[in-house]
């Protein structure tokens, strides 16, 4: 992995997320910024998914359970060439396909998500199909820590272990904040690792903003033969923009002109420091 190149991408992606959220005057800013490094590593270093092979039955699958952070996904898919980035100027506009949650109308999106607690079951089904077909593809799903109280997640977690789905990897973007406030105060789901371990998963923790750590942990998949893998990615909501970091109000806050300008400058500075 070219760390410098990847780090530049992460910052560029952040700038684009903000740009299109401002353009749409809508979006889930904080969560898109917390998961973007995960998506960067997945799409650029892990998944065998491209516009050329997207219809191949052998491609890896990425299902974004936390569908509200679609801006991060759009920016990465555009970068990978699934559609012209200019399309994102229509995001959330009248008649645009680029709506505020993933849909298959956008090339590169596997499943229509947005209602929480759906991605893991969809991924379990897809991973069972891979096992039945003796196919080598892996299935990845990105969940938020705030969506874990949805009971369907735990139904799916049971099934994943029951069917020994070591071709399945769930990633929890644990930014510890949700729309009401700290996840620990809304409905405490900690300790997530012990819960999943007791369900039969193999769990690893990672700094969700360390590209190297992320790459490393994905390279270790499956963590244990015969078990589904969970990566708990410790992240910061609003990561990369100091005044957005760890602030509940940036869950779906849209920066105004001045805030946008400050954010872009901050990211430019970070970029300059790398280059």
């Amino acid at each position: 992995m070219n760390v410098k190149k990847m780090a530049i991408r992460s910052i560029t992606y952040r700038q684009k997320i903000l740009k299109y959220i401002v353009g749409a005057n809508a979006g889930h800013t904080g969560g898109s910024l917390s998961c973007i490094d995960i998506l960067n590593v997945l799409y650029n270093e892990v998944l065998n998914v491209s516009p050329q092979n997207f219809n191949s039955p052998n491609r890896d699958r990425y299902i974004q359970s936390k569908g509200h952070c679609v801006e991060a996904l759009y920016v990465v898919l555009a970068d990978k060439g699934f559609f012209p980035e200019d399309d994102l100027h229509t995001m959330c506009r009248y008649k645009s396909h680029y709506i505020g949650h993933p849909t298959r109308k956008v090339y590169g999106v596997e499943q229509n998500t947005g209602a929480l607690g759906h991605g893991l079951s969809l991924s379990v089904g897809t991973a069972i199909a891979a096992k039945l077909d003796n196919k080598a593809y892996k299935v990845f799903t990105l969940m938020g820590d705030g969506e874990l109280p949805e009971g369907s997640n735990w139904e799916a977690a049971l099934t994943a272990a029951h069917y020994k789905l070591d071709n399945l990897c769930a990633i929890i973007d644990k930014n510890s904040l949700q729309i009401t406030g700290p996840t620990a105060d809304v409905c405490n789901t900690d300790p997530i690792d012990e819960k999943f371990e007791s369900f039969g998963w193999e769990v690893k923790h990672v700094n969700g903003h360390s590209l190297q750590e992320l790459k490393q942990v994905f390279d270790e998949l499956p963590f244990k033969k015969g078990k589904p893998s969970l990566i708990i990615a410790h992240t910061v909501k609003g990561n990369g923009v100091s005044f957005m970091q760890n602030q509940t109000k940036w869950h779906h806050g849209v920066p105004d002109k001045e805030q946008y300008s400050i954010a872009v400058k901050e990211l430019d500075t970070a970029l300059a420091a790398i280059i």
């Binding site: 039955p57 079951s121 379990v124 069972i128 199909a129 369907s152 139904e155 099934t159 029951h162």
Partner: protein
């Protein structure tokens, strides 16, 4: 006159048995066919299926939301998935998964609602599905089918296996007679079957209520010389508007019959079409009223609410303005 449809000769099998038999035949020939169950292989008559095709049955356990989500994932990877669960749980508990993971994402799962309507009888309202047509009708991109007899069930399952779109098929578990021996009267999704043709009244029924509707029509003809068109409207969505129009134009009154709430089902679907298209004639929706049903067996419950040969006969006479006590030709 007997009020009970169960007292009629019922030489056929339960549609449930036809479903499981048909699925075995299909699964033998096509290894992509999967049954996905929620601890429902017994109630879905799939025990033999599981023994014959252990690699083609996926057990989820009692978790209907996950059942539907997993089924969607399997279908997205090319599997021909029959997700089998009691209709009551499948279409209520997992409704969001049906809406998003099946219909919205266009994953072509075949949802099989077993023991539908009031099949579970005295087990009570938790186990009744009197809401399924209504809730699914207002979800885009899913067909709703209730086969009436063994032939329709076999056809529905066989054609569903080839279908690359979401579909919901529901049926009960009591033995059903064939509606007609006429083999030219085929089955196609979205096309109602005209079982008898008459110009006095149209009785549009669906699922296992078509049989008592047909029995009522036979008596209407024999005793009162009233000729009824009986339609098996097996596909509730998309509704066969052409056939509806045809029978509405040629009859004096219309009755709909369904093992479902009078709200939101076949009856209201027909009513809105007829009204919007200028057919203003005596009209009655026969179904379960807006209440938790009386306790009883399936037959007792249906009889109680007039969803029976006798009830449909009386309603036909009433709608045509005839004395229901009159036993002679009008």
């Amino acid at each position: 006159m007997s009020a009970s449809t169960d007292n009629q000769k019922m030489p056929g099998k339960a549609n449930l048995d036809v479903f499981s038999g048909t699925l075995q035949v299909l699964a033998q020939a096509d290894r992509e066919i999967l049954a996905v169950t929620s601890d429902s292989r017994g109630s879905g008559k799939l025990v033999a299926f599981g023994q014959k095709f252990p690699a083609q049955i996926i057990e989820i356990g009692i978790a209907e939301q996950n059942l539907v989500g997993v089924a969607a994932g399997l279908a997205s990877a090319g599997k021909k998935v029959f997700a089998v669960s009691p209709a009551c749980f499948l279409t209520a508990r997992a409704l969001e998964q049906i809406k998003n993971d099946i219909a919205y994402s266009d994953n072509p799962v075949k949802l099989i609602g077993i023991s539908a309507g009031v099949s579970y009888g005295a087990l009570g309202s938790t186990h009744h599905s009197l809401h399924d047509y209504a809730v699914l009708r207002c979800i885009n991109n899913i067909m709703i089918v209730a086969p009436a007899d063994n032939f329709e069930t076999e056809q529905a399952i066989t054609q569903a296996a080839k279908l690359n779109k979401p579909i919901y098929i529901r049926f009960g578990k009591k033995p059903m007679s064939l509606l007609t021996e006429d083999e030219s009267n085929g089955f196609e999704f979205g096309k109602g079957r005209l079982i008898t043709e008459g110009n006095d009244i149209a009785i549009i029924a669906t699922g296992e209520t078509v049989y008592p509707a047909l029995q009522a029509a036979i008596k209407l003809q024999a005793i009162y010389n009233i000729n009824a068109s009986v339609i098996s409207m097996h596909t509730i969505k998309p509704l066969d508007y052409a056939l509806l129009k045809l029978v509405a134009a040629n009859t004096k009154a219309v009755i709909t019959v369904e093992e479902h709430s009078i709200y939101g089902g076949l009856g209201e679907a027909c009513a809105s079409f007829l009204l919007e298209n200028g057919y203003h004639k005596p009209f009655k929706i026969m179904g379960i009223p807006d209440e938790y049903t009386v306790t009883g067996s399936q037959t007792e419950i249906l009889n109680h609410y007039g969803i029976s040969e006798d009830g449909i006969l009386k309603m036909s006479l009433q709608l045509l303005g005839l004395n229901t006590d009159e036993k002679t030709k009008p």
